[in-house]
């Protein structure tokens, strides 16, 4: 359970090994992302495939991390389940993030 990361080509893949990215997880997740960004990781791919529920606080944590990059870098999303995709669609945050069907697609540039 929790978060881990690995380097794939020139990107940092962040694996979220949590079924729920909700208000109770928003702060630890945001702290994890802040640490990565402060270490100089600026092209990030979030592997959301294990997340079956996300609320507005989880979404806010991802948006907060994107803003922390301050335009110097990117956060791409990979493998969201239907309910998570629905949240991005409902909130129009799919306009801000590039969403890929899988990590492999994100690394090779495919879009969902």
């Amino acid at each position: 359970m929790g978060y881990s990361n690995r380097q794939e080509a020139d990107k940092t893949v962040v694996e979220i090994d949590e079924a729920r990215l909700d208000a109770s997880q928003a702060t630890p997740f945001r702290d994890y992302m802040t640490d990565l960004i402060s270490q100089g990781q600026r092209d990030l791919v979030l592997d959301l495939s294990q997340v079956d529920f996300m609320d507005s606080s989880g979404l806010g944590a991802i948006v907060g991390a994107l803003k922390e990059l301050n335009g110097d870098g990117s956060i791409q999303l990979a493998g969201p389940q239907k309910s998570v995709n629905d949240l991005f669609d409902l909130t129009c945050m799919d306009k801000i993030f590039t969403i890929h069907s899988s990590v492999n697609d994100a690394l090779s540039g495919g879009i969902q």
């Binding site: 729920r20 909700d22 208000a23 109770s24 529920f53 609320d55 507005s56 606080s57 979404l59 806010g60 944590a61 948006v63 907060g64 994107l66 803003k67 301050n70 335009g71 239907k82 309910s83 629905d86 949240l87 409902l90 909130t91 129009c92 945050m93 306009k95 801000i96």
Partner: protein
Amino acid sequence: MSSVLQGQSEDIKPQCITLCIDSQLEDTVLVAMAVRGVCGMTSLTAEEINRVELCVVEVVNNAIEHAYQGRPNETVEVDVMLNPTRSLEIVVRDCGTPMSKPLSADAEMSVPDPTNPETWLSSGRGIPIVERLMDEIRYESCEDGNAFHMIRQLG
């Protein structure tokens, strides 16, 4: 025959379950799972159940984070009232600080502009999501506490 069936469905008594959790965000999942279980008794699709769960989580979290300002050891009570042929009503009650703004003031979903990071809000989407997904919402506040009503029509 159809009128008999209609009459029978009108006679179905609404069922109600009341859930109580401590005011900590880790416990919201208990309400979420219970509500999913009740939703499974209805005609709601998997996507619709996900959306009801999202709404309940947003309102319960709102009570914990805003009404109780994150204080634990307070109670959030959730009534789930099911009339299987008509509606699902969920009421989230707390005894904390009432919401300061009317629901309508919070209900607008801001649309982010990809070219303007100032519009990428990292909070404030919970109530607009609920407003968008539920058929009816209502907020009441009195001396006994606050109650956030959400109604989803069925069938």
